[in-house]
């Protein structure tokens, strides 16, 4: 099986990862190696970080998803998966390319934001917000207008100057209603989980290989009653840093791995270098209505 490209890493895997672009880089030893194998139920000396996740003093993590399997993630880049017999490959990939990827980012001192992102004018634009706020929907609508999808759930930020986004893969997780609203059919697509009306949609444009400068971050929120819609730039660095902390993917994992300091520095760097906007929309707002305004905002 060909090695894949994930956030700039060379990844070799026992299970196929069709979401990823092929590795076309140098002949380095793979950064991440995914193997199927035995995984114990407990991590010796592991500490419970959340109900399904333990982390030990070496920085290794163990994620246990009841009907999917156990994922042991070592800081060396070795990932062992013990799948449940009934788990499908799609379900295994869902957690490998989600929670496990988030853990790998924290192990490697990157900043994973809970955000989708798309390429606009040679840079990455990220959309953050709680589940259901329209992150993937906005990414989908930009993809339908010819923009590449850089990431879906996790936007991986490298804190250099200027901050850069390491592309994940051009796959979006979309509910049936979202797809049908965008005139797409979910027929034939993999389901997020068996029986669920949420699908894995691979965006039509070639994925992005190289890191992109982070052009802007939009914090998606819903308008309260009587509140107007609009885009507002956050001016105070402290507000930006608080917002970015709230939008950090698996923040507790980062803290458990001793990354509080580097995460703080990453937020400070972004607050200094990258414009951050609050995009307030009504619940029933048409997604397409905001595409031009977002592009215009970025272009100033």
């Amino acid at each position: 099986m060909t090695d894949g490209l994930l956030c700039g890493w060379r990844i070799r895997s026992d299970i196929a990862l069709p979401e990823l672009l092929d590795w076309q880089g140098d002949d380095r030893i793979p950064d991440l190696v995914v193997r199927l194998g035995e995984v114990d139920e407990r991590l010796p000396e592991g500490r419970e970080i959340s109900p399904l996740l333990q982390i030990d003093g070496t920085g290794a993590g163990l994620l246990q998803v009841p009907m999917v399997g156990r994922f042991l993630v070592r800081p060396s880049g070795g990932i062992t998966i013990a799948p449940q017999p009934e788990a499908s490959e799609a379900e295994i990939r869902l957690f490998l390319l989600g929670s496990v990827l988030g853990m790998v980012c924290h192990q490697r001192a990157l900043l994973p934001l809970h955000a989708s992102s798309v390429a606009i004018d040679g840079g990455a634009v990220a959309f953050c917000g709680p589940s259901g706020m329209g992150k993937s929907t906005l990414a989908l609508r930009f993809a339908q207008h010819g923009h590449s999808v850089v990431s879906d759930d996790i936007c991986v930020i490298e804190t250099c100057e200027p901050p850069r986004v390491r592309p994940c893969f051009p796959r979006l997780k979309l509910w049936r209603d979202t797809m049908e609203d965008a005139a797409l059919s979910p027929e034939g697509l993999e389901r997020n989980r068996r029986g669920q009306e949420k699908f894995h949609f691979r965006a039509p444009h070639a994925g992005v290989r190289e890191p992109l400068p982070l052009r802007a971050i939009f914090l998606l929120r819903r308008a309260g009653s009587g509140e107007g819609e609009g885009i507002q730039r956050l001016a105070a660095p402290l507000d930006i840093m608080a917002a970015l902390e709230a939008e950090t993917f698996r923040l507790q994992v980062g803290h458990a791995l001793g990354r509080a300091e580097t995460l703080f520095q990453a937020r400070a760097l972004i607050a200094n270098d990258v414009p951050v906007y609050r995009l307030t929309r009504r619940a029933d707002a048409q997604p397409d209505r905001w595409l031009d305004a977002i592009a215009a905002t970025i272009r100033g």
Binding site: S50, L52, P66, L94, G98, S131, W175, G224, V253
Partner: protein
């Protein structure tokens, strides 16, 4: 107070009224903004709260995994963010799980609100956009759950409700927790007395002046007026009426056909008698 203090009820039984009262009472009787201040008694099953404490997204889990995870998350919330919460969960063990979504060791105390199921049937029909027939059927359905939208993300995670009778009894018979049962009809008939009892149970200010002031701020006409002017974010997407629709007891006598009222009584008579609905 440690752990979760629950305002627990079958849907459409007066939970929001208690939350509105507490939202004012916990802030010294100040006026409440319906769309902001109910967060004083947040919904325990809110997806963002559950995702945050579970450390992953429930939208990536199967229904059985959610049922297995919820008690673990409840314990975590009880430890890290104790306080008042609203819930419609029953105190029953959902299929595939090993314990109820909110296990007793996560609970500090429970206020259980009960309402005449014939009135619940009328109110739930308007709230969920069901026919009265469907409403009566679902109240009899021991597999009834909410918080699951097949085609889109639901703002809440899944809650195992069961039938009206099973739901009510699951809380009334909860072992190992301090429990206060309040009937919606008694809250309406003598608000001062009932809400004073509530405050005493929750170790809140139970002086006549304080209770009256918070009752005034959370009166039905004020809540309905706010909804009419600015909407209410918790109103169901499928609702056919305002959330604050009638706020009355005994509406079933005119709104529920006799045959349906009899069906409710036929299904739930034992528990109805137990909580005083003859």
């Amino acid at each position: 107070m440690s752990g979760l203090t629950l305002i627990a009820s079958y849907p459409k039984s007066g939970n929001t009224w208690l939350r509105a009262f507490l939202a004012s009472h916990l802030r010294d009787g100040r006026p409440i903004d319906l769309n902001a201040d109910l967060s004083e008694v947040p919904n325990l099953t809110s997806r963002s709260l559950q995702d945050c404490h579970a450390g992953l997204e429930h939208s990536d889990l199967s229904r059985q995994e959610v049922a297995l995870l919820r008690p673990l998350t409840s314990r975590r919330i009880a430890r890290e963010q104790p306080g008042f919460y609203k819930t419609h969960d029953s105190n029953l063990v959902p299929p595939g799980a090993r314990e109820p979504a909110i296990p007793p060791d996560a609970i500090d105390r429970v206020v259980c609100i009960v309402r005449d199921p014939r009135d619940v049937a009328v109110s739930a029909a308007a709230h969920f956009g069901w026919s009265l027939d469907d409403s009566v059927d679902r109240m009899a359905d021991t597999a009834f759950c909410i918080g699951h939208s097949p085609r889109r993300l639901n703002a809440n995670v899944e809650q195992w409700i069961s039938s009206w009778s099973a739901h009510v009894e699951s809380w009334l018979d909860a072992g190992g927790v301090q429990l206060l049962m309040l009937r919606y009809e008694d809250l309406l008939a003598d608000p001062l007395e009932s809400f004073t009892q509530l405050c005493r149970f929750l170790d809140l200010d139970d002086t006549r002046h304080a209770v009256s002031r918070s009752l005034e701020e959370s009166r039905f006409s004020a809540l309905a007026g706010q909804e009419a002017r600015g909407g209410f974010r918790e109103r169901s997407r499928t609702s056919t009426a305002p959330f604050f629709r009638a706020g009355k007891a005994g509406e079933w006598r005119t709104a529920l056909p006799a045959v349906l009222a009899e069906r409710v009584v036929g299904t739930h008579s034992r528990v109805m008698a137990r909580v005083g609905y003859g």
